[in-house]
C-alpha cells in the first residue's frame, strides 16, 4: 500500500489511461501525509485492476480506456475538493492544537527567551541613558523593538509554534542587524530551535 503498482496489462490504450489515472492520483496526493496518500493510491489501483478484469470479459482495450478517461475526468472536481479537505485536515493537525512541542524544545524556547529578555533589559537601559551616542543611529531603538518582537514570538511559539518561531526569527534577524557584534549569540539559538521544530513537525506530518 505504499506506491502505485503496475497493473495487469489490459491493452495499450487502457494501460495508458490507467497510467494517466495513476499519475493524476500521484499529483493530487502530493504533500499529503504518507498514509493518506498511500491509501488513496491503493484504492484507485484496486479499482483499476478490478475494472480491467471485468472489461477483459466484456469489451476491448479501447472501451476500457474510454471508460477510465471518462471516470477520471468526471471525478476531477471531487478529487480536488477531497485534496483541499485533506490539506486542511493535515494543516490543522500539524499547526493547530494537536501540535505539541517537546520538553527539549520547551527548555530551548525558555532559554532563548531568558537571553533575549536580558538583552532587552540592557537595551532598554541603554535607551534611557542621556548619551546614547556611544552606539548611535537606530541601533538601540531597533534592538529593543526587535528583541521585544523576539520575546513575544518565543512566548507565542508555545501555543502556535510556526507563527511564534517566524516572529522570533524575524526579531532575531533585525536584532542581529542592529547589534552586529552580537550576532553570534543571537542567531544560532533560534535557528537551531527552528531546525529542530521543523524536523519534528515533518515527522508529525508523516505520522499523521
Amino acid at each position: 500500500m505504499t506506491t502505485s503498482r503496475p497493473l495487469a496489462p489490459a491493452g495499450r490504450p487502457a494501460d495508458l489511461a490507467a497510467a494517466a489515472v495513476q499519475a493524476w492520483v500521484g499529483l493530487y496526493t502530493r504533500r499529503l501525509p504518507r498514509a493518506v496518500a498511500a491509501e488513496r493510491r491503493a484504492l484507485i489501483d484496486s479499482d483499476l485492476w478490478d475494472e480491467a478484469q471485468v472489461a477483459g470479459l466484456i469489451g476491448g482495450s479501447g472501451t476500457l480506456a474510454r471508460q477510465r478517461v471518462s471516470r477520471l475526468v468526471r471525478g476531477l472536481p471531487d478529487d480536488l475538493t477531497w485534496r483541499l479537505d485533506q490539506g486542511r485536515a493535515t494543516r490543522r493537525a500539524t499547526q493547530g492544537g494537536t501540535m505539541r512541542i517537546s520538553r527539549v524544545e520547551a527548555v530551548l524556547l525558555a532559554s532563548i527567551g531568558v537571553i533575549y529578555g536580558a538583552f532587552l533589559i540592557v537595551s532598554l537601559f541603554w535607551l534611557t541613558q542621556p548619551d546614547p551616542d556611544r552606539w548611535g543611529g537606530w541601533g538601540p531603538f531597533g534592538l529593543s523593538t526587535s528583541l521585544a518582537v523576539g520575546v513575544a514570538g518565543l512566548v507565542l511559539a508555545f501555543r502556535w509554534p510556526i507563527i511564534g518561531f517566524t516572529l522570533a526569527v524575524a526579531g532575531t534577524l533585525v536584532a542581529a542587524a542592529a547589534m552586529p557584534w552580537a550576532w553570534f549569540i543571537l542567531l544560532p539559538l533560534p535557528l537551531a530551535a527552528l531546525y529542530r521544530l521543523g524536523r519534528s513537525r515533518s515527522r508529525q506530518a508523516v505520522a499523521a
Binding site: 491503493a42 484504492l43 484496486s46 485492476w49 471485468v54 477520471l72 471531487d78 475538493t81
Partner: protein
Amino acid sequence: MRRKPGTLVPLETAILDALVELRRHGVPEAHGFLIASELRELGDERRLTAYGTLYKALERLDDSGALMSRWEEPDIAALERRPRRRYYRITLVGEASLTADRESRPLGVPVRREAAAT
C-alpha cells in the same frame, strides 16, 4: 455546499441501497469497483461512477458511521496477484439513515436516477 448532519445526498443513498442489494444476494461486503458496478446496474446507467466521486462518497459514509470498512488481508491479495481491496459494509446507522431518507423523500422520486447523474 453544507448540509444537515445525518442527511444523505442521492449518491450516498444509492451506495447504501447498492450495499443492501448486494447483501440480499449473499455479498455482505463489497469493494469500490463492485459498488460502482452495482450502482450502474441499479441506476440502469451506461457509465460507472467516477473514481473521485465514488471514493469521496464512500469515505464520507465511512466517517459518518453509515459504513464500516476494512482492508483485506495482504496474503489474499498477494495470492491472487492483485492490489489489496478495501471492503465496505452497511452498518445499523447506515440502514437507519437509509430508512429515514426514504421516509423523508416524496413518493415517486427515484433516488438512483439522481445519483447516477454524478
